[in-house]
Symmetry: D2
Subunit: 338 residues, 4 copies
C-alpha cells in the first residue's frame, strides 16, 4: 500500500498515519519529494485494507501494491490447474474442452437427440439450464429439478459430462447431486452467499464473469471459492457490457491472456453470450482459441425457432459442425487440440 | 413488436412468420417499403417475446414496442406510490425521507450514539449492514443476526425506522423479523431467486440499481417484486460503472427523472456509493433532490478512520449536519420538504 | 512516479532502473517489502513520463503520483478563475451564467426572435452553431460564415454575448472575428491541432468534455489551451457515453464537484446534450446548479418540430421560462444567483 | 422509420404527423394496436431524419429501420473491397497484410534498421508517426515534415509501403505527398472537417475507430470519406474504452465479424493499442485473424526502453518474429495467408 499525501499535509498528519499503521505491524517508509510526500508500507497489506486511509487528514490518494487475491494467483501456484472430470475429460490441459447444448433443458427427447449429435462432433460436456435467470418474471424460468433429472439421465446414457447453473444457496446440494460441474452465472458473480456455499462442496465449478465485473473482481470472486476449499474452479469470459449495442455483449478477448497470466485457473470462452447472435459465434470461438482459452461453451439447439430461451444466439447442429471443424484447425495452429 | 426483414427476404419467409405468430393470437400488419418490408404485430406482445423471431429466415432486426414491465409502470398506476413506515415516516410524498447511519453495524454503543445524532438532525430511517457483500473473502463480512438485534434495539430505543441488506434467500425471514425495510444491494439486482423470496413477504423493500443495470432492467427486477405480491418497493440509484475512475461510481442523475416518468415507485438517491468519496457526497445529495428524488441514503460514521467498511465515503456528523441544512434549502426550492 | 517490481525482479533489474532514471535527475527511494520491492522517485516527474518504465525488465506496474496537468490545477492557482465577457457578463463568479439558443443558426429573423426572448428571461450568452459536427454526411452541416454574421448581428442588436463552435484549425480566426466565446465540441476534445490553434488566440473558449473523456484527460486538453497562452477557459460537462440507452448520454454530475476541486476553471453544465430529451433538461439543469456549476448551456427553439438539428432536446420558450424560474430558486438555495 | 405513439395520443396528433411527413413524400402506414398505435413510413428515410419526430405531440419513441449509411454497406456493394498499394501489396484479399514499425519516427537510422527487419519478417507496410496526438502538451509531439521525409526515404530504399497519421486539415496535402496510406486516428474519428478533406484526395486511408465510437458511427465516418469520393478506405479496430482497467483498451473482437457483415471495406486489427501491453499483443493479433480481419497493425521498436512514445506496447523484433510465425499458422487455419 502506498499513500500519497496532499501538498498541504502536516508533520502531525504524517505522524498520525505512521502511528496508526504501526499498530497493525506495518513499517512506514516516508519519501519526501519536492511537491509531495509519499508513504510506502512494508508488512501485511491485508491488515492495511481494513482501515480507510483515504479519510485520514492529509491523505490525497491510496494505491494498492499487491493484488488482493492469493490462492487464485500465478504467484501462489505457477503451473496451470487441470480439472479432472468423468469420462476422461479434463479442462486446463493441452486439449481444449467444448461444452455445448441448449440454453434450457426442455424435454428428455430433445436433450437426448442434441446430446448424441454434439458428442459425435467432439463435445465433452453437455450444457442445459434447469434454473434460468430471466430478466422478466413472466418469461420461462426453467424446468427445475425435473430438468436436472433429464440432464443427468441423458449424460449417463450418452456418456458425457454435464453442467448446469445454480442460482440460489438452497439449490447447491441439489445441483451437486445431479451434475458434474456447477455454473455460477454472470449475474451472480458477486453473490457472495452463493460463492461461499459452492466453495464448501466438492464439485468443479465454472464462474462466469459479471457483465460489469473487472478481471480483478472476477478473480476475487474465484478467491471466495478457493478460500472456502473448492480448488476446481474454471473462469468463464462471456462478454462484458459496454456502450456498443451492435452486439448483445462485448466479448473481452483481452481477458483471456490477462486471466491466464494472473491466474493458474483454466479460462473458458462463451462466444454465444459474448456476441449474442448466432452469426458471430464461430468468429468469437476461433478468436477465443487463438487468444489462448482452455475451453469453449456454446449454445446449440436443433430448432432455435422453438427454443424456450436464447434462441437468437443458438447454433443449429450443421453450423455447429462447421464451427467445430474450423476451431479444431485453429487449435492445432496454436499447438492445442480439440 | 416490429420485425424488419432483410432486403432479400422472400414471400415464403414472410408467410412463415405470419403463420407462426398467428398461432399466438397475433395479427400481422405488413408494410412493404421500397427497400425493406416491415411487419408490425397487433396483440399480446408478451406472447411474442417467447419466440426468438431474430432467428427466423429473412429477419434482420426485432424491435420491442411495449415496455416489458407492467405493474411498476406509470401507465399501470398514474399516481405516485407512497410507502408508509412506522413512526409516521413515509417515502414517496412531498417530504423527502433521509436514511443515514454507518455502513456496517459495529456495536450497540456506536449504533445508539450515531442514531441519536442523526435523528436529531432530521433523519427518519437508520441504516446499518449486518450481512455485508465484500469483494474480498478476507474482509469483514458483517455481524450477522447479532447486528440485526442491535439495529432493532437501537431503532426502538431512539424511535426511528430501520433498513438493512438481505443477501441470501435463507435470510429473508430473519431480516423481515428485525428491520422495517429490506435492502436488495446492487450486486443482487438480478438475483432473481432473492427477488422472488422478497416479493412474497410483506415488508417494504429498497431495490438498488446494479452497477451495470439499465433502467429497464432495474424496473424489470422491481417487477419481480410486485409480480410476487410486494408493492412497497423503492428504487435506489447508487451510481453506475463507467470508464471514469476519478470517482468510485458515476451517479446517474438522469435516472431520477427517467425512473419517475416511467414508474410510480419512489426513487432514492445514494450519493455515498454514487460518488465514493465523502468530499462529493453533499453535492450528489443536493443534485439528487434538485433532480426530483424522494429520499436520500447516506453513510455517516462518528469516526470514519475506525469504520469496519466504506470509511472513505462516510461523513462525520458535523459534515452531515451541513449537508442536511443545505439539502433542506434545496428541497424547499423545488417545493419539497426534508 | 512509483514503480512496483515483479516478485522475481533481480538486483540487476533494480540497478538498471536506478541508473536510467538518475540520468534524468531523479533520486530513487527503494523500499524492499516482504513480497515486493517498490521504487519511489523524487524529482521532476515530467521527465519520467518520457520513458516507458513499464517495459523495463522486472517492472510490474507504474503508478503516477502527480497529476500530469499544472496550469489548470487548484495547486497552481487557488482562487476561482472568473472570465470577463462583454455586456458585464462573467463566468465563474457568484452569479451563474446561462447560455441559450438554438442548436444551429437557421435565419436572421429566427435568431433575433429567440435572442430577444431568452435575454428577457435572464440569459447572458446566445448560442447558435454555424459549423455543425453531424454524424451523417447527408445531414445539415450548418450555414457557415453566413451563420456567424447573423449571430454577431443579432448579438449586437440585442446586447448579448455570443458563443459558437469551431471545428477546424482553419476556422479559428474566422470564429474569433465574429463571436465572444469559441466552443470546442465533445468530438474535438482531443483534436490537439485545434487546441493549439485556439490556445494562441485571445478569446475565451469553452471546452466540452469528450464522450469518453476522463476528467483527467479533459483537464489535460484544457492544459493545451493554457500552455499555449489562453487562460480564459471554461470546462463544459455535457454527458458521457455509458451502457445506458434510456438517455442519449449520461450527465456525469459527479464531474462538477470533482472538476471544481481539481481545477480553478469555471464549470458549465449542458443538460440538453447531457440528457438528450427536452423532458429531462430542467431536472439536469437544477442538478447541475445544486452540484456547484458556474453556468448552464441549454438548447431553446421556438419551433422544435422545424429545427434543423437536435430538435428532440430543445425546449420551447415557455418550458425554458419555467426552467429559469426553478433554476433561480435552486441557485439561491446554494448561495448563488442566476 | 417507425413511430410509436404514447397511449394518450389523440387522432389530431396522428393527423399532424401524417400531414407533416406527407410533405416529405412519405406514406404513413398506421397500425392501431390494443395498447399503442404505431406508424410506419414508406419512402425516403433520409428525408425523415431531418425532422425531429420525437418532439411531435403524442410521440413516445422513434425507431430507425434503415442503416443511415449507404456507400459503405454490403447492400450497396456485395463483394469485398480490395485496396491496391505499391509493391504489389493489397489489403482486403485472401492475403492478410501486416503494418508494423515504431509508434513515432525518431531518426533515419532507426527507421531504416527496423524497416529492414520487419520487411524480412513479411511486413508489407511500414508505420511511423510524424504528427503525434499526445494527451499532454508537454510530451513529444512528433518530428513533423522531417519525419515524413524519413519515412518516405526509408520506404523507397527498402521497398515497402508507408502509413502515417494525419491530424489536421492543413496537413492532408503534405501527408498525401509523402506516404501511401493516410491514417485517421481514434481521436479524430468524428473530426468531420478532416474526414471531408481526406475524402477529396486520391490516397488510401485507414480510419481508426474512436474510443467510444459505435460500429454504426464508425461506418458513418467512413461514409463521409466515400461520399466525398475516396473509396479506398480501411476500417481499423483498435480497442474501445470500457470500465476494465487491466488493459489500456478493450479490443472489441466482435467488431471484426460485425463490420465485415455490414460493410465491404477491409478491416484492420491493431492489438498494440487494443491491449496496450506488449505481453498481450500476440494473443490479440491471433484473435484478430481468427475472427476474420484483413490486416494487422503492430508497434515494433528495437529498444522500447528508449521509445519516444508508446514503448509499453511495443514489441522487440524477436517477439515480433514469434508473433508473425504464430499468426501465419492461424491465418492458414482460416484459409488465409500472411
Amino acid at each position: 500500500m502506498i499513500v500519497i499525501l496532499r501538498p498541504d499535509a502536516t508533520e502531525a498528519n504524517i505522524q498520525h498515519i505512521v502511528e496508526r499503521t504501526a499498530k497493525l505491524g506495518l513499517k512506514a517508509n516516508i519519501s519526501r519529494g519536492v511537491e509531495r510526500t509519499v508513504i510506502g508500507f512494508i508488512g501485511p497489506e491485508d491488515a492495511l485494507r481494513a482501515i480507510p486511509l483515504e479519510v485520514f487528514p492529509g491523505v490525497d490518494q491510496v494505491m494498492q501494491v499487491l493484488a488482493p487475491y492469493r490462492l487464485v494467483s500465478r504467484e501462489f501456484k505457477k503451473e496451470n490447474t487441470i480439472i479432472k472430470l468423468p469420462y476422461n475429460t479434463t479442462v486446463g490441459g493441452t486439449k481444449i474442452a467444448v461444452m455445448a447444448g441448449p440454453c434450457s433443458v426442455e424435454s428428455y427427447e430433445g436433450m437426448l437427440s442434441i446430446a448424441k449429435k454434439v458428442k459425435a462432433l467432439g463435445v465433452n460436456i453437455l450444457r442445459g439450464g434447469a434454473f434460468k435467470p430471466r430478466t422478466s418474471p413472466y418469461d420461462f424460468q426453467g424446468m427445475g429439478e425435473e430438468g436436472l433429472k433429464i440432464l443427468q439421465a441423458v449424460g449417463k446414457e450418452v456418456g458425457i459430462c454435464t453442467i448446469s447453473e445454480v442460482m440460489d444457496t438452497r439449490q447447491v446440494e441439489l445441483l451437486a447431486k445431479y451434475v458434474d460441474i456447477l455454473q455460477i452465472g454472470a449475474r451472480n458473480m458477486q453473490n457472495f452467499s452463493l460463492l461461499k456455499e459452492v466453495g464448501i462442496i466438492k464439485k468443479p465449478v465454472m464462474l462466469k464473469r459479471g457483465m460489469s465485473g473487472t478481471i480483478k473482481e472476477w478473480l476475487m470472486s474465484a478467491e471466495y471459492l478457493l478460500a472456502n476449499g473448492n480448488y476446481d474452479v474454471m473462469l468463464c469470459e462471456r462478454g462484458i457490457r459496454t456502450f456498443e449495442t451492435a452486439t448483445r455483449n462485448t466479448l473481452d478477448i483481452n481477458a483471456v491472456p490477462v486471466a491466464k497470466r494472473l491466474s493458474h485457473l483454466p479460462v473458458v470462452v462463451d462466444p454465444s453470450h459474448g456476441t449474442g447472435s448466432w452469426e458471430y459465434v464461430a468468429a468469437g470461438a476461433r478468436a477465443g482459441i487463438a487468444a489462448g482459452c482452455d475451453a469453449l461453451m456454446i449454445e446449440v439447439h436443433e430448432n432455435p425457432e422453438e427454443a424456450f430461451s436464447d434462441g437468437a444466439q443458438s447454433l443449429m447442429p450443421d453450423k455447429f459442425q462447421e464451427l467445430m471443424v474450423s476451431c479444431k484447425r485453429v487449435a492445432l495452429a496454436v499447438d492445442r487440440d480439440l
